[in-house]
C-alpha cells in the first residue's frame, strides 16, 4: 500500500519544476547515478565473486577465518563508512596527518587523494555491499557439482580455465540476484552521496522535495526510479528462469578443495584481506578511537535503551519479513499463482525506494487507515511501531525474497511430488519439508534483514513514536550536526549489534552444514 501511495503520484499533476529539472539537472543526476551503479557493480562483482571463489575452492592460510569474516562489512552502513573515510582521508584527516608527521612534511602536503567524489562513493558502496554478492556466490560455488567441473578437466581445461570458463559462468544467475540487491541499495542511498556531495538521482529527489518544496514531483521522480528497478528485476527474473543451471543440493558430490602452495596462498590471503581491511577493520578502529576519545559516556546512558529498541525492532521485523517471504514463495510454488508472483516482485522494489520517501508513503497510508477505517479521532497506527515495522518489511522484503526464493529453487520438485503423494500438503508440507530444507536460507534472510534494519535510518526517524531512539537515530543526531567524532560511539554500537546476528547465524549455518543434514 505505501508503495502504491508513492506510485500513485504518477497520476498527479506534473509541475513546472519538471521543466527546470529536465533543462538543467536531470541528465546530470542520471549520469552520476549510472556511473555510480556501474562502478559499484563492477567492483562488488570483483570483490564478491573473487573472495567467494577463493574461500570455496581453495585451502589457504586464514581460509576458515575469511569464510565468515568476509561478511562483516555488512554490519557497516555506507553512510558511516563515508563519514569515517572522510575522517581518515580528508586533507586534514587522520591518515594525512600521520603521513605528514612521519615524514615531517609541510602542513599543506596532502598525500591521499580527495575521496569526496564519485570514485570515493564507489569505493564506499562497494566495500560495504560486496557481502551480498559474496554470500550468494559462495553458496553457489559450494553447490556446484564436481562432475560438471571434472568433465571440463577431461575436456582439457586447466584449473583456471575451469574457474573462468565453467565455474564462474555457471553461478551467474545466482550472482545477478545479489547484484540486484547491491544496485537497489546503491540507488536508494542518500546519506553517503549527500556527504560526498554527488548529485545523484536520489539527491535530486530530496533536493526537489526539500528545496523546491515539491513533494509530488519528488515522488514522481521516485516512481520513475522504481519503474526502472522493476524493469531490471523483470529482466533478472527472466534470465534466472531461462538459465536454471544451479544444480540441486540433495545428492551431488561436493567440489574438491585444492590446497594452494605458499605463494598463491599469500596472494589469496592478501586478496581476501583487502575488503576486510577497508570495509571493516579500518573504519571500526577509527571509530573505536573516536568513540573512546570523544563520547565514551554514550555507552553509559543511552546505549542500553537504544540498543534494546534496535534489537527488538530488528528481530520482529526480520522474522515477520522472512515469514512473509517464505509464505509468498511457498504459495507461488504450490499454486503457481501469478498474482502472488507479481506481488512478490512488486514488494521487492521497495528496497530501491529511499527510506524517507517510503516513510512518507507509510504515513499517508497509516493516517488514511486511522482516519477512515479505525477510530476516527485518534491515530492508533500512525507513529506506532506498526508503521515502523511495516516500513522495515517493505524496505527489506527484497533481501528475504531473494534468499528464500533462490533457496526454494534448489529444492527439487520431485521432493514436493513425493511429499504430496504421501499425503502432505499446505501447512504440513511447508512445516515438515520446505521449512526444514530452507532453514539455512531462512536464517540467512533473518540475518540480512536484521543487519538492514539496524542500519536503516531515514524511515525510523520519521515514523517512530515519541521518545523512541534506535542506534541509527543516535548516530544521525550527531552526524546531522557534522559531529562525526561524537557519532562514533553510536556507530560502533550499530556495528556491534549488527555483528551479533552475523556471528550467531554464520555459526548456525556452518553447524547445519557440518552435520550433513543439508
Amino acid at each position: 500500500m505505501p508503495l502504491v501511495a508513492v506510485l500513485s503520484s504518477l497520476f498527479g499533476e506534473y509541475s513546472d519544476n519538471w521543466n527546470h529539472l529536465y533543462n538543467f539537472v536531470l541528465f546530470d543526476y542520471l549520469r552520476n547515478s549510472a556511473v555510480l551503479v556501474f562502478g559499484v557493480s563492477v567492483l562488488t562483482l570483483i570483490i564478491g565473486t573473487g573472495t567467494a571463489w577463493l574461500v570455496s575452492n581453495f585451502n589457504f592460510f586464514g581460509k576458515r577465518f575469511f569464510e565468515w569474516a568476509l561478511i562483516l562489512p555488512l554490519s557497516i552502513p555506507p553512510y558511516i563508512l563515508a563519514y569515517t573515510f572522510t575522517g581518515l582521508f580528508d586533507s586534514y584527516g587522520t591518515l594525512n596527518n600521520l603521513v605528514r608527521n612521519i615524514f615531517e612534511l609541510e602542513q599543506s602536503y596532502i598525500f591521499f587523494p580527495n575521496i569526496r567524489n564519485i570514485f570515493g562513493a564507489i569505493i564506499v558502496f562497494s566495500f560495504t555491499l560486496y557481502p551480498y554478492i559474496y554470500l550468494v556466490a559462495r553458496s553457489a560455488f559450494l553447490n556446484q557439482s564436481r562432475s560438471t567441473l571434472e568433465s571440463g578437466r577431461i575436456l582439457g581445461l586447466n584449473r583456471f580455465e575451469i574457474s573462468f570458463k565453467l565455474a564462474m559462468p555457471m553461478i551467474r544467475p545466482a550472482i545477478i540476484g545479489g547484484l540486484m540487491l547491491v544496485i537497489m541499495e546503491t540507488l536508494s542511498d542518500f546519506g553517503a552521496v549527500e556527504h560526498f556531495a554527488i548529485p545523484t538521482f536520489t539527491t535530486g529527489i530530496f533536493r526537489t522535495w526539500y528545496g523546491m518544496g515539491d513533494l509530488l514531483t519528488a515522488m514522481q521522480l521516485s516512481s520513475f526510479l522504481l519503474i526502472l528497478v522493476a524493469i531490471f528485476l523483470l529482466i533478472e527474473n527472466k534470465s534466472r528462469r531461462n538459465a536454471g543451471f544451479v544444480s540441486d543440493s540433495s545428492t551431488h558430490s561436493p567440489i574438491q578443495i585444492e590446497r594452494l602452495n605458499s605463494r598463491y596462498s599469500a596472494l589469496a590471503f592478501v586478496f581476501c584481506s583487502i575488503p576486510l581491511l577497508v570495509g571493516f577493520i579500518l573504519p571500526t578502529s577509527e571509530l573505536m578511537i573516536w568513540a573512546i576519545y570523544y563520547n565514551p559516556s554514550f555507552f553509559d546512558d543511552r546505549f542500553l535503551d537504544a540498543a534494546l529498541n534496535t534489537i527488538t525492532l530488528a528481530v520482529v521485523a526480520a522474522v515477520l519479513c522472512s515469514m512473509t517471504a517464505l509464505l509468498i514463495n511457498f504459495s507461488v510454488r504450490i499454486n503457481k499463482n501469478k498474482i502472488l508472483r507479481l506481488l512478490s516482485s512488486f514488494l521487492s522494489i521497495g528496497y530501491a525506494l529511499p527510506g524517507l520517501i517510503l516513510a512518507v508513503g507509510i504515513v499517508q497510508t497509516t493516517t488514511f487507515i486511522d482516519s477512515n477505517l479505525l477510530n476516527k479521532s485518534s491515530l492508533a497506527l500512525t507513529g506506532s511501531l506498526f508503521g515502523l515495522v511495516l516500513a522495515y518489511i517493505i524496505k527489506s522484503y527484497a533481501l528475504s525474497n531473494n534468499t528464500i526464493s533462490s533457496g526454494m529453487e534448489k529444492i527439487s520438485i520431485g521432493i514436493d511430488n513425493s511429499a504430496r503423494v504421501l499425503k502432505s500438503s499446505g501447512w504440513n508440507l511447508l512445516g515438515s519439508i520446505h521449512f526444514p530444507l530452507l532453514k539455512t536460507s531462512f536464517f540467512t534472510s533473518i540475518l540480512l534483514v536484521i543487519s538492514e534494519v539496524v542500519k536503516e535510518l531515514p524511515a525510523t526517524l520519521i515514523l517512530r513514536p515519541f521518545n523512541f531512539d534506535t542506534l541509527a537515530v543516535s548516530t544521525y543526531i550527531y552526524a546531522a550536526e557534522e559531529r562525526m567524532r561524537d557519532a562514533a560511539a553510536p556507530s560502533i554500537a550499530i556495528i556491534l549489534v549488527g555483528l551479533i546476528p552475523i556471528i550467531i547465524i554464520t555459526r548456525m549455518i556452518r553447524s547445519s552444514r557440518d552435520k550433513g543434514a543439508m
Binding site: R116, M212, V363, F386, I477, A480, E481
Partner: protein, 346 residues
C-alpha cells in the same frame, strides 16, 4: 515443526497499543523537532523539572516531519514544531498548521523580523552566515568592507570555498539575496561567484573553514556556530588548531547587514496541550534557557539581555544584521535552488 503465525502479530499489536496508551495520559508537551543537539535534551529536562510537564520528542528531517504533520491532520498529537531553519517554519505556516502565539511575554522578547507575520512562530536563536579568511594570505584591507555581492568579482578567482547547494544554509543565503536584489541580479552574481570557486563544492561548513586554515582557499562561507564549536575544542585538537588560524568577518556591514537565519518554533493548530506549549516557548526565551543555548550550540541569543558565548563574542557582538524577514527565505527557497542549478552551483 508448526507455525505460530499468530503470536508475533499479537505481540506486535500489544506493543502498538502500549505505545498509543502511554501517549494519552499525563501532563505533557509533544515536540516534533529537527534540531538534533544533545544540549537540547538538557533543556527539555530543565523544563520538566521546573514545571512538571513531561516533554516527548520526535526528532527527524524537518521536511519529513512536516509531511507527517500534514498527514496526521487534526488527529496529530504534536504540540510544537521546532526547527533550525526559517524556511521550514515558513512551510508549516503556509500549510496553515501553526496557530498564532498569544503570550504577551513572548511578543515582548522577540523582535518582529524573527516572528511569523501573524506570530505563528518565533525565533529562539540566531546564526550568522559569515566569511572566514586566513589573515596570512588575505590582507585585512582587502576585505574590510566586503559584502556577499563582492565575491563575484574577478579578484577572487579560484579563492573561494563553500559547500554544496544542497545545503539549506546556502539556499537561505541566496533566497535572502533574491529578496533584496531580485532574481536577475542574483543570477548574474551567482555566475561570477561560482566561477571563483577554488574547488568543487564538497564537505560541510567545517571543512570549508579547514580548507582556508590550510591555505587551500582564501575565503570560506560558513555558519558562525560551527566556528564556535571548532574553537571550543569540543571537536578535537585538530579542528581547534585549524580554527585558530582563521578569522571571522561579518559581511555587508555598510549596507543591509550580515545574513542571519534562525532556529525557531511555533505552536501547532491542532495542539492538544496549547497551554503547555506556550509555557515551553516562554521557557526557551528565559535567560536560563537562552544562556544554555548560546553556550552549548554557539548560536546567538534572540533576547538582548544575554551575551553570546565568549568563544565567538571575541569577533564582535554588535554587528549589523540583515533585517530581511525570515519568511522570505522560505518563500524564495525554490527560486534559489533553481537559480543555483542554472549557474551550475553543484
Amino acid at each position: 515443526m508448526c507455525f505460530k503465525l499468530n503470536n508475533p502479530i499479537k505481540s506486535l499489536i500489544a506493543i502498538c497499543l502500549l505505545f498509543s496508551l502511554t501517549e494519552i495520559i499525563a501532563n505533557e508537551v509533544n515536540i516534533y523537532t529537527s534540531r538534533h543537539y544533545d544540549s537540547d535534551d538538557l533543556l527539555y529536562k530543565d523544563f520538566s523539572d521546573a514545571t512538571g510537564i513531561k516533554v516527548n520528542i520526535i526528532s527527524g528531517k524537518g521536511e519529513a516531519l512536516i509531511e507527517r504533520l500534514k498527514s496526521e491532520g487534526s488527529n496529530s498529537s504534536a504540540d510544537i514544531f521546532l526547527t533550525s531553519d526559517a524556511g521550514n517554519l515558513w512551510k508549516v505556516q503556509k500549510e496553515g498548521l501553526f496557530k498564532s502565539i498569544s503570550s504577551e511575554k513572548i511578543m515582548q522578547s522577540v523582535p518582529v523580523n524573527f516572528r511569523g507575520p501573524n506570530n505563528e512562530w518565533i525565533g529562539i536563536a540566531k546564526r550568522a552566515r559569515v566569511i572566514f579568511y586566513n589573515p596570512d594570505n588575505v590582507p585585512s584591507k582587502d576585505i574590510e568592507k566586503l559584502s556577499y555581492e563582492d565575491l563575484s568579482q574577478e579578484a577572487w578567482k579560484n579563492r573561494i570555498v563553500v559547500r554544496s547547494s544542497n545545503n539549506i544554509y546556502n539556499q537561505s543565503l541566496v533566497a535572502s539575496m533574491i529578496s533584496n536584489n531580485g532574481i536577475a541580479a542574483t543570477e548574474t552574481w551567482a555566475k561570477g561567484f561560482v566561477s571563483n570557486f577554488a574547488r568543487k563544492p564538497q564537505g560541510n561548513d567545517r571543512s570549508q573553514i579547514i580548507a582556508v586554515a590550510n591555505g587551500e582557499a582564501d575565503i570560506a562561507i560558513a555558519n558562525s556556530y560551527y566556528f564556535g564549536i571548532m574553537l571550543s575544542g569540543s571537536a578535537g585538537p585538530d579542528q581547534m588548531k585549524a580554527a585558530n588560524k582563521v578569522k571571522m568577518l561579518f559581511p555587508n556591514q555598510n549596507n543591509r547587514g550580515t545574513h542571519v537565519n534562525i532556529s525557531g518554533a511555533g505552536v501547532l493548530r491542532n495542539s492538544k496541550n496549547p497551554i503547555n506549549a506556550e509555557a515551553f516557548l516562554e521557557f526557551l526565551l528565559s535567560s536560563k534557557a537562552q544562556s544554555h543555548i548560546v553556550n552549548n550550540t554557539y548560536e546567538y541569543p534572540v533576547i538582548d539581555t544575554i551575551p553570546p558565548s565568549p568563544v565567538i563574542a571575541q569577533f564582535g557582538t554588535s554587528f549589523v544584521e540583515d533585517k530581511t524577514s525570515a519568511s522570505d527565505f522560505g518563500k524564495f527557497n525554490s527560486e534559489a535552488i533553481k537559480l543555483m542549478d542554472r549557474v551550475g552551483w553543484k
